[in-house]
């Protein structure tokens, strides 16, 4: 069984690096954050295990805070491609098992991979794609690509299915997609007695579950099948 990583280092405390660091920290792991900028370090220091002002290009400085003991390093150095490439290379040479590097372009990404990055992410490109997809298919609330050509999508129950059970709606037969979960919004009162919309998620819903207005369905299928379903709305 693979050991779960527990020690993370994030290099670069900009918008992306900070979001990653804070979310990791909230999930109970140790996170060291480093940045050259003193203010960036101060801003994040209350939210992570340790925040250090240093130049990540300085190997001695990195070792002085024990970076080589990390399980995972995330390199999110802003606009300086050269620095992110050199730091990625250095971290791999130090023996850090997994290095995730943020790329600013396809060519930058290729170089990062070549120097040893285990995983290259393109946050702006990926967010751009996600935004464009949601603008051209506004009824799809969210989607996850499972494999090229296959997606899990989340969408409101369309009017032609409202009031029908999953079985009677014959979604699988008619469209070749499978409903894997149904989210039902349930009106409740919160601890202060104010109205709140609770969310009940039914995984692997039974065939006799009735789909109602306001429900959200999560379905899996080929892109063409999902599109055929969506066009019926």
């Amino acid at each position: 069984m693979t050991k779960q990583p527990t020690q993370f280092v994030v290099i670069g405390a900009g918008a992306f690096g900070s979001s990653v660091a804070i979310t990791l920290s909230k999930n109970g792991v140790d996170v060291i954050v480093m940045d050259k900028d003193k203010e960036a370090v101060q801003r994040i220091s209350d939210y992570v295990t340790q925040a250090v002002q240093l130049d990540a290009m300085d190997e001695k400085a990195l070792r002085s805070v024990g970076v080589e003991k990390s399980d995972v390093a995330i390199v999110s150095i802003g606009q300086q491609m050269e620095a992110s490439i050199l730091v990625t290379m250095m971290l791999k040479e130090m023996g850090i098992p997994k290095v995730v590097s943020k790329a600013l372009s396809e060519s930058h990404g290729k170089v990062l991979t070549r120097v040893g990055a285990d995983y290259v992410i393109f946050p702006e490109r990926d967010m751009g794609i996600k935004l464009a997809k949601s603008l051209v298919a506004p009824t799809i609330l969210d989607h996850i690509e499972v494999s090229p050509g296959y997606n899990i999508v989340e969408l409101d129950v369309p009017s032609f299915l409202q009031g029908k059970s999953i079985l009677k709606s014959q979604i699988r037969t008619n469209y070749g997609v499978e409903i894997i979960a149904v989210k039902k919004h349930t009106p409740k009162l919160d601890s202060k007695g104010e109205s709140v919309l609770g969310e009940d998620i039914i995984i692997a819903p039974p065939p006799d579950l009735k789909l109602e207005e306001g429900d959200v369905i999560m379905m899996i299928g080929k892109d063409e099948a999902i599109e055929k379903f969506r066009k019926k709305e």
């Binding site: 935004l131 949601s134 609330l141 409101d156 009106p187 919160d190 104010e194 109205s195 709140v196 306001g214």
Partner: protein, 105 residues
């Protein structure tokens, strides 16, 4: 609760409100009762009535926003959540609600 019991409870509240037509708390209670029973249009009508005589009632605006959200009328929901923040700028639940419904829809 079946339809008969529901109507009976509504009738009791309504009788009280006939005697005390500006009892905003009881109106809001009635609104929440409609909301919990998924009668969102009725809930909206009640909260709007409260706001016609209690123009700065934060609870009315908040519950009205949630009822609109339940109906997926996000524009009206946002309008009323923002009104809550205007009257109570530190209302964290409201800021979270605005973040939640501000999507690409």
């Amino acid at each position: 609760m079946n339809e008969k019991e529901f109507n009976s409870e509504v009738e009791k509240l309504q009788k009280h409100l006939d005697l005390y037509p500006e009892d905003d708390e009881s109106y809001i209670l009635l609104g929440k009762f409609y909301f919990l029973n998924k009668k969102y249009d009725n809930a909206i009508e009640i909260y709007q009535k409260v706001l016609s005589f209690a123009v700065e009632n934060v609870s009315a605006y908040y519950n009205l926003a949630v009822a609109y959200e339940a109906k997926k009328n996000y524009e009206e929901a946002k309008k009323n959540y923002r009104k809550v923040l205007e009257l109570d700028k530190d209302n964290k639940g409201t800021q979270d609600a605005l973040n939640r419904i501000t999507t690409f829809q």
